[in-house]
Amino acid sequence: MTSLARLQNPYGDGKLIESCGLFGMMDTTGRPLRGRDIIRAMANMHDRGNGLGAGFAAYGIYPEFRQEYAFHLMFEHEEARRQTEAFLRNNFKVVHHEGIPHRAVAEIDGPPMLRRYFLRVEKGVARAGHDDYVVGKVMAINAEIDGAYVFSSGKDMGVFKGVGYPEDIGRFYGLDDYEGYLWVGHSRFPTNTPGWWGGAHPFSILDWTVVHNGELSSYDTNRWFLEMYGYTCTMQTDTEVLAYGVDLLARRQRLPVETVASVFAPPLWETIDRMGERERRRHTTLRAVFGGLLMNGPFTIIVAHHDEMIGLADRIRLRPLVAARRGDLVYLSSEESAIRLISPKLDATWSPDGGQPVVARLKAAAAEAVGGNA
C-alpha cells in the first residue's frame, strides 16, 4: 500500500483533512434519473470544493450486467493494468470489460487509465461468501498492485470520480448519459493533498458508498477499533473509517442503518438516562460495545447502497445537512439551494437533528423491479 499512501498523502500527515459539499437524490419507486440534475446541484455548490476532487456514485446503471460485480478501476500506468487484468482473470470470470467512456474536458488534466470490468465469482466459492471474497480481492488490488486502484466494486452501480470540480468531472464522464434511481455526489476541499484521482469521494466497497464532509477528531480511536476487526486503514482519511465502520456494522453484523447511526452519532448520556428501559439498555449497550466507532467531531455523511440512501450528521450537528422530499423523490444536500435549483417545488424540507438519520428506502415493489441487492 506504500504507493497509495504516497499518492494520497505526500506529506505523510497522520491523517488527511478535508471539507466538502455533498448531495444525494433517490427515486424511491426505482424510476431512473439522469445524471444531469445532480451535476447541476453540485455545480451550484462549486465553492464548497477547491477543484482537487469530485465524484459521483450511481445505482441501477448497468441493468444488462445486474448479476456481475462491476469493478471501476484506475491505472496509473500500463503495467498496473496488465497485472490487474491477470489478477482478475485468475480470480474471477470476466464477463465483459471496456474503457470507461469519457470525453476531453479542458479543465480535467491528465486522467489515469479508467476501465470497468464485469466480474462473476467462479464456482467453488460459496455463494454466501461472495461479498467477502470480493472485498478481499479489492483490498489485494489496492494493496499489492502498484498504480492500480478500485473505485467501486458493487453490482449494477459504479463510482465516477477524479480531480476537478464536480461539473467538470460530470462532463468528463458524460454522466448525462447514465440513468440510475439513486445518485450521490461529492465535491472536495482537501487542505493538504495535491489531489489524486483515487482520493476523491465517493469511497466504495461492494455496493456501499460513502461521501463525507467533516473531520473526525476520533479518527485514531476509530482506526484501531476497526483494525481489531481486521480492517487496515491505509488511506488516512476519515471517510475510510466511516466506510469500514458501515461495512462492519451494516454488512458484516447486519445492524439496521438506524442502529448504525446510533453508533456513529449516539445520543448523549443525559438523553439515554431519561429513556425507557428498553431504549436505555439498547443505547447504553451500543455505546459500551461500539464506543470505538463513535464518530466524534463534525461530519455529515451520505451512505448509499442498493435500495437505501442514508443521511446523517454528527451528534452535535457541526456540519450542514438538509433533507427534502417531493413525491417519491428524496434529496439530501449540504445546502438547500442546491435542492431548490433542480426541484423548486418541494413537499417538505427539513434539517435533521444530529444523530437522527434520514433514510430513503426503495419501495418494496420497486426493489424487486430494480433487482436490488443480490
Binding site: D220, T221, F225, M228, P256, L268, R287, G291, P298, I316
Partner: protein
C-alpha cells in the same frame, strides 16, 4: 560507634515567634520536638525529622520551617549522598532497607514529554461550559458483535457484567492497615458520591463500609485477608492482585504493630501478628491457574460482576495482559514503576518494573493486534499526578486510571515516604488511633471530591479543545499526542509521532 547518618532535615525555629504552645511537640510522632522546662524552650532533635511538615503546617505562629539538609559531601556523580546514606544505614542495621510511596528516581516521566492537540479551523473546538462533555466510562468485557431480534429490533445479546463510572479516575487499592480506617472511609464515601470506584486493597473491607459496595472494587490478593462470600458479593468489581508497581515480584508485610484489633478483625487474623502477603498467589503458578481463580470468583458471585487482574508493569507485560484477558479477566490493571506502596524494599521499589506509559502503550497495542482489546478494559496506574496525565493515559489506550498517591496527597500526605514506619503524622498511613483521628473523614471526603471535580473539569477543557465530546473517542487516540525530547524507539513504543511530524 557514632550514628553515621546526619540529619536529613533541619528544623528552623524562630524563637521570637514561638509561644511555647507545644503543638509541634504533641503532633510529631517521630518525637523531633521537645519542651525543655528549665530553659522554657522548645527544641528539636533534627536527626529524627522525616520532613513531613506536619509541625510547620500546624504551628499557630509560623515559627517553624523544616528544610532539606542534603549531605554536602564532596560532589560525586557515582557515589551520591543517597548511596552513602543507605550504606551507612545498612552497616548499622544489617537489614533490607525499607521505604514507602513510589519510586522517586529520575527515570524519564513520559507524561512530561507528551503534548496534547487542539482543534483549529477544520474542526471546531468545543466549549465544555456550553456544550455537553461526556466522561462516563463503562468497564468490563465487551462482545465482538451485538445481535438484534430481526422482527422486533430488541437487543438479544446479553453483556457480561459491566460497571459504570462517571469519571475515568478510580481510587487505587491501598490496604486497610497500610492506610487508616478514616482514610478508607473518606475514599469509599467520595467514590460513592462522585460515581466512581474505591479499591479495598488487600487488607479486607470493614463490614460497615459495605453499604458503599456499588462503588467498590474488592481485592483478592495473595494473603487472602478478609475474604469471605459477603466480601465478594458486596463489591461491584473483584480484582485479583498479582502484582504492584512499587514492588513487582514482592509480597507484603504489615508489621504486627500496625495490626490493631480492628485491622485484625477486618483481615481475619489475630491482633498483634504480622500480616504477610506471599509474593505469588500460592494457587496461581501459571496462566491456567489464574483462569481457574477468575472462574471460581465469577462462579462464586454468579457472574454478576467484572473480575479484573492487576499486574505490575514488567518487561513482558503485553504477553501477560493478553494471557490474563484470554484467561477471562474483564479488566486488566497495569501498575507502573512509580506506583506507591505502604512498605517495600527500597532496592526493589527503585529498580524493578517499567514506566506505566510504555507498558500501557505496549499492552494496548498488543490487545488491538490480537483483536481482543474490547474483551477487557485497561486501567493504568502508577504515578498519575494531574488531569493531564489522565488525558494522556487515555490517549495512550487506557479506559480509566487508578490514583493512589494523588488521593493521599488530597488528604494531607506530603510524600515523606515514611509509610512503613507506622508513624504517619498526617494520620493516613497509620493505624494508631492517636494518629488516625487526625484525618477527619468528612473533610477528607470533601477534599477528594474537590480533586475529582477539578480534574473532571480540566479533562473536559482538554477534550473540548481537541473537538471531542465523549471520552471514548480519546481512547487510544494517539494522533492527539506528540512527543517532545524522545528518542525514536520511545516514540515507536508509545505509538506517537514526534512534535512537528
Amino acid at each position: 560507634m557514632p550514628h553515621f547518618a546526619p540529619a536529613q532535615f533541619t528544623v528552623e525555629r524562630r524563637d521570637t515567634r514561638c509561644i511555647r504552645c507545644r503543638v509541634c511537640v504533641n503532633q510529631c510522632s517521630f518525637e523531633v520536638h521537645y519542651y525543655d522546662a528549665e530553659s522554657d524552650e522548645v527544641r528539636s532533635r533534627d536527626e529524627r525529622c522525616v520532613g513531613c511538615h506536619r509541625c510547620e503546617a500546624l504551628c499557630p505562629t509560623q515559627a517553624l520551617a523544616v528544610r532539606f539538609n542534603p549531605m554536602e559531601i564532596r560532589p560525586n556523580a557515582n557515589w551520591r549522598p543517597e548511596h552513602i546514606r543507605d550504606l551507612q544505614r545498612q552497616a548499622e542495621t544489617g537489614g533490607v532497607l525499607l521505604t514507602g510511596a513510589g519510586n522517586d528516581k529520575p527515570f524519564r516521566v513520559y507524561w512530561d514529554h507528551l503534548l496534547l492537540n487542539a482543534s483549529q479551523v477544520t474542526n471546531p473546538s468545543i466549549d465544555p461550559l456550553r456544550e455537553p462533555m461526556e466522561l462516563r466510562t463503562i468497564l468490563g468485557r465487551k462482545p465482538d458483535r451485538l445481535d438484534f431480534d430481526d422482527l422486533k429490533g430488541d437487543l438479544m445479546t446479553e453483556l457480561d457484567a459491566q460497571v459504570t463510572v462517571e469519571t475515568p479516575i478510580i481510587f487505587s487499592g491501598m490496604s486497610y492497615g497500610a492506610i487508616s480506617y478514616n482514610a478508607h472511609l473518606a475514599l469509599n464515601q467520595a467514590a460513592r458520591e462522585f460515581g466512581t470506584l474505591y479499591n479495598t486493597g488487600e487488607g479486607g473491607w470493614p463490614v460497615e463500609f459495605r453499604r458503599f459496595g456499588d462503588h467498590t472494587i474488592a481485592q483478592c490478593a495473595s494473603g487472602r485477608f478478609g475474604i469471605d462470600l459477603d466480601y465478594l458479593e458486596s463489591a461491584a468489581v473483584i480484582e485479583i492482585k498479582i502484582g504492584q508497581g512499587a514492588k513487582p515480584g514482592i509480597g507484603g508485610h504489615l508489621p504486627a504493630e500496625k495490626v490493631t484489633p480492628p485491622v485484625a478483625a477486618t483481615r481475619m487474623i489475630p491482633a498483634g501478628t504480622d500480616a504477610l502477603s506471599p509474593a505469588p498467589q500460592h494457587d496461581i503458578y501459571s496462566i491456567e491457574d489464574l483462569a481457574m481463580l477468575i472462574n471460581a470468583l465469577k462462579e462464586a458471585t454468579g457472574y454478576a460482576k467484572p473480575v479484573g487482574v492487576k499486574i505490575a508493569a514488567v518487561h513482558n507485560a503485553p504477553a501477560i495482559a493478553s494471557g490474563a484477558v484470554r484467561a477471562g479477566a474483564d479488566i486488566v490493571a497495569i501498575d507502573g514503576l512509580r506506583g506507591g506502596t505502604g512498605a517495600a524494599p527500597k532496592v526493589v521499589r527503585d529498580n524493578v518494573g517499567l514506566p506505566i506509559e510504555l507498558a500501557l502503550a505496549a499492552v494496548h497495542d498488543r490487545l488491538v493486534k490480537e483483536g481482543i482489546r474490547n474483551r477487557a478494559s485497561i486501567l493504568a496506574a502508577g504515578g498519575i499526578r494531574s488531569s493531564a496525565d489522565v488525558v494522556k493515559a487515555i490517549a495512550l489506550g487506557a479506559d480509566a486510571v487508578y490514583i493512589g498517591t494523588a488521593a493521599l496527597v488530597a488528604m494531607g500526605c506530603t510524600l515523606c515516604q515514611m509509610c512503613y514506619t507506622g508513624k504517619c503524622n498526617w494520620g493516613i498511613a497509620v493505624t494508631d488511633p492517636w494518629l488516625t483521628k487526625r484525618v477527619n473523614p468528612d473533610i477528607a471526603t470533601r477534599h477528594l471530591l474537590n480533586l475529582l471535580r477539578a480534574w473532571n473539569l480540566e479533562i473536559k477543557e482538554m477534550l473540548g479543545g481537541m473537538g471531542i465530546n465523549a471520552l471514548e473517542s480519546l481512547r487510544g487516540n494517539r494522533l492527539q499526542l506528540r512527543g517532545v525530547g524522545l528518542e525514536e524507539w520511545e516514540l515507536k513504543v508509545l505509538g506517537v509521532r514526534g512534535a512537528g511530524a
